[in-house]
Chain length 209, copies 2
DNA sequence: GTCTATACCGGGATAGAC
DNA sequence: GTCTATCCCGGTATAGAC
């Protein structure tokens, strides 16, 4: 039976992925060479190409793993009601996003680097950002339809909030030391306050004149 | 006199910088090779090294140019009062930052890519982010000392706002087309509303229970 | 200072034995 | 499927003529 072979192959693939995850956090996606990965995994260079066409495909694999893992828990926990003007609901959302970043840091780092390294002319940053915050945008639109007054168009607020979350998480989680001496909980709390105030309190006219 | 030589050299250096600026926006800093720059500038490869040790040094030069230009106008326009709870003051600040990003896009793109491409383990992202938002942090601390209640520590709010601004600007300004069909003014207005509400309205307890 | 030519090397990718 | 050995190219950086 070929089961043994398959198993061994699966082991190698897993080893490569595992090594990649580790290296992506330490050195980053861009600076990690394929040979670094194979070396760290204790395999040969040639073996890599039996499993992945290139580094991008490996990343895609990691991403798929993450989605498979994360989507379950998210769907399970995801509240049906989405009144983001409710401070606690908002905080739950932000906290969940932050937690996913934290848990899948290798993939997050890799994706972030890969996105930014792309040709600016490709417009990929904007595309990714809007795609990843689509759900948030819809929630905001829903609020608007219900008569809630937002400080701006959902089409810009959602990407803005997503940008803040992603960039800040990247910075905080890769801060070797000397980062914010602050627990994740505190950070999420602060962000919640910032966003919550902006989204919710807009009716209270602070307009001059 | 050697003035003629010097002048020619200065011309070459300027040409290289100018070409670099153009290419950085189109292809990005990382994807632009030294040979691309010299080619675009109509100079030879070897000539490059007469002016810069490497690509990093060229970027440092561009950055210096930008600072020299920007600091004047900023200092000139910078209001002495910094009550960021005043919506218009806040908007002026955000608008100014956005304008600098827009005007010096090549340098901004290059710095951003360079920052993100660094080894995550270096912690550079957090270091840069805190350094670039130091002034904002001080303003927030000043507010706090005066008894104003913020939604979180200035040490995290300032980087958070900076992260939002930087990442969003990068995404928006490199969005080939299909970006937000929105003028800069509208974007700044929306961001102002978002941040202003968060910073200012916190007293109004929206706490549950 | 600027050019042409080239040395040099890192690293992606493949060939072919096992 | 995995290995070793190698090809090969892009791109940095330098040498030396002008």
């Amino acid at each position: 039976m070929t089961g043994v072979r398959k198993q061994k192959a699966a082991q190698t693939e897993a080893a490569l992925k595992e090594a990649a995850r580790r290296l992506f956090v330490e050195r980053g996606y861009l600076n990690t060479k394929i040979t670094d990965i194979t070396k760290a995994a204790g395999r040969s260079t040639g073996s890599f190409y039996e499993h992945f066409a290139d580094k991008d495909e490996l990343l895609a694999g990691l991403l798929a793993d993450m989605r498979g893992q994360a989507s379950e828990q998210i769907v399970a926990e995801h509240p049906r009601e989405h009144d983001l003007t409710d401070r606690e609901v908002l905080k739950a959302h932000l906290g969940m996003a932050w937690g996913v970043f934290r848990e899948h840091l290798p993939v997050v780092v890799a994706l972030f680097q890969s996105m930014v390294a792309d040709e600016p002319g490709s417009g990929r940053a904007w595309r990714d950002l809007t795609a990843d915050t689509e759900m948030l945008r819809e929630h905001l639109e829903w609020l608007e339809e219900r008569g809630h007054r937002l400080p701006g168009a959902p089409g810009i607020l959602a990407p803005a909030i997503g940008a803040m979350l992603a960039m800040l998480a990247y910075a905080v989680m890769t801060a070797a030391d000397g980062g914010p001496e602050m627990a994740d909980e505190e950070i999420v709390e602060a962000l919640t306050g910032l966003v919550s105030g902006g989204l919710g309190a807009f009716g209270a006219s602070r307009m001059p004149g």
